[in-house]
Amino acid sequence: MSATTEAPARTYSAYSAPLWQRLLLTRETAVIALTAAVILYSIANVPNFDGPLTIKFLLQDIAPILLIALPMTLVIITGEIDLSVASIMGLSSVLLGVLHEGGMSVPAAALLALLAGLACGALNGFLIAYVGLPSLAVTIGTLALFRGIAVGLLGTKAITDFTEKWSDLATGTIGETKIPLVMIPFAVLAIGFVVLLHFSTFGRGVYDIGLNDEAAHFTGVDVARTKLVLFMLSGVVSALAGIYFTLRFGSARGDNATGYELQVIAAVLLGGVSIFGGRGRLHGVLAGVVLIGVLSSALRLESVTVNVTNIIVGLLLVASVILPNVLAAASSRLPRKATPAAPRESHTPDNAASAGVTTRGSDS
């Protein structure tokens, strides 16, 4: 071979599964299908699920999780994790309350709370990306730290007198529809994150880091800065979710949103993101969040206790990660069917280059 002669193009169709297969046989499609199935089943069988209020309450309930799942997906794809999101929600909630009580208008206080969220994310990101500490340990620490500051600032008391106008905004719907207003910022963010992750150079870097951060570094991806940015995004979006949470319930408390981090992570993993990083797509994650939301909504309507809902969510989570492996193991046990005929590579003796590599066709 020489660098100037063009090699004849070969196709190895056996390698790339047909397009429809690649699109359909994915984790994401499975989650979406399951979500759709649960929705259809609930509409048909769960009393009042088809009622007019369901969609509004459902979306209001899952809004904070939807929001935080966006940056969390990216964080987990880089192979890190952020356990401090719910504590940042709590902290931004308390800050909003304390500042508002101190005489600041809601938008000004919210802005400061967002900045605080950004700062929290920056602290996480700095320790993880630049000091090189494991994110699991760091965010377990900041989980306690941020929540501790929130509770420390406000004790266990609550601040509840928010300007009516703003709480109405948080609970209001778009025009005559039943879609909550919060879906507008969510939609904007969702589009932004989809573009960022799937259609930008930054997003390619995110996947590369998750698969092999050393190689990404050698390729000129700024690993540390990417991680810092992601944790800051995670912080600021969590703060936004905290503000929404506060205004929706009209109550700023230090213990707001306790335990949400595990819900977010469960939803993200259910949506097909690999905890090892490098794999996962946003539409699967959003379907995962909706799936959990629909399940809890339907089960509540059936007056099933939250315990059973938790059991089902837990089982789904375990099954969703176990099943692909079990299926893979099972299919490898089955006698291998002859693979579709691939163009068999001829070992022309005069072509050293082609002789060096195994043919990947079937041996039938």
């Binding site: 399951l34 649960v38 309450f57 008391k157 109550s251 949103a257 399940l295 809890s296 089902i312 089982l315």
Partner: protein, 327 residues
């Protein structure tokens, strides 16, 4: 992909589903499940519902947080139930959700812990703040001989009812000459969790070596504090009183850790709330001051100011009478 068969159908066992046409349907939503106090009130509510021929189900969150309660209030609105009986985890946070439910024609009765008066139809008050505060001060003053340091072990810092009682107690301590020698040195919060209340008791005793008495106006708190005291060096030295249930406190009253404590009958509270809700639904009352209704074996009640119905005076339990109760 995989089939979508799990999940949705596993929940059809317990719920009564929708409201079957004419029958009165109600939901009981305590602060949290798995709490003996609320179990008793739910039992009372169920009894009343049976008498009324109404459908009654109990739902609730695992932990006493307002946001978890909101989902259940929303569900009640979706189901279009006739009435919701609720003990509120936060006076303000639930208002929007309750209003939404009321606009879906659900009557809302609060009991045990109120929301802002505007957002609900009626509040069933177990006892007046004054009555409760006075009772507990009276008990503690008696036990510590009218002088010394005391402390309060409360539930969470924004439990409405607790805070109202504490405020009243503070006023009373400051103004009542009988309590001139009693000093309230600390108020701590056990968040209605056993372990936290237990640890808080320890911290109180450690930080205030001269402490003579503890008031714990919450059933979880007083039981945890009693457990701590009963095998510590402070047993018999530090007096404990507050609000507790006889079953939880029996052991400590019998072994002398606690001399007396107070409470109303939570069963009666649930029973009364159910009758009040039924009266609201059938339109015989609207929640105006002065309305009156019949509450089965408890007799007749009248709605007071701010849409409040008062159950009665708290009852004092001590070694002499505790054997008569089982809740």
């Amino acid at each position: 992909g995989c089939g979508g068969d799990d999940g949705g159908d596993s929940g059809s066992d317990s719920g009564s589903g929708g409201d079957g046409g004419g029958a009165l349907s109600m939901t009981m939503l305590p602060k949290n499940l798995g709490n003996a106090y609320f179990d008793t009130s739910t039992k009372g509510a169920m009894t009343a519902a049976d008498e009324l021929g109404a459908d009654m189900e109990e739902v609730g969150p695992e932990t006493g947080s307002p946001d978890a309660q909101v989902s259940y209030i929303n569900t009640v609105a979706q189901q279009g139930k006739d009435a919701l009986i609720i003990s509120a985890n936060d006076p303000d946070a639930l208002c929007d959700a309750i209003e939404e439910a009321r606009s879906a024609d659900v009557k809302v009765v609060t009991f045990d812990a109120d929301t802002n008066p505007e957002c609900r139809d009626l509040f069933i008050n177990q006892a007046t703040s004054e009555g409760i505060a006075a009772k507990q001060l009276e008990l503690i003053a008696e036990e510590i001989g009218g002088s010394g340091e005391i402390a309060i072990l409360s539930a969470s810092a924004n439990a409405t009812n607790q805070n109202a009682w504490i405020a009243t107690m503070e006023e009373e301590l400051a103004s009542n000459p009988d309590y001139a020698d009693i000093e309230l040195v600390d108020t701590v919060y056990g968040d209605d969790e056993d372990q936290k209340s237990f640890d808080q008791t320890e911290a109180l005793l450690q930080n205030h070596p001269d402490l003579k008495g503890i008031i714990s106006p919450t059933t979880v708190g007083i039981a945890a504090a009693a457990r701590y005291l009963s095998d510590s060096e402070y047993k018999g030295q530090v007096a404990l009183t507050g609000l507790g249930t006889p079953n939880q406190m029996r052991e400590f009253v019998e072994d002398g850790t606690v001399a007396s404590f107070a409470l109303w009958n939570p069963g009666d509270l649930g029973y009364l709330a159910t009758y009040a809700a039924a009266a609201l639904v059938d339109g015989s009352i609207t929640g105006e001051e002065g309305d009156s209704f019949e509450a089965g074996e408890l007799g007749e009640f009248e709605v007071g100011a701010d849409g409040t119905v008062l159950l009665g005076e708290p009852f004092t339990f001590n070694a002499d009478n505790i054997g008569d109760f089982d809740f």
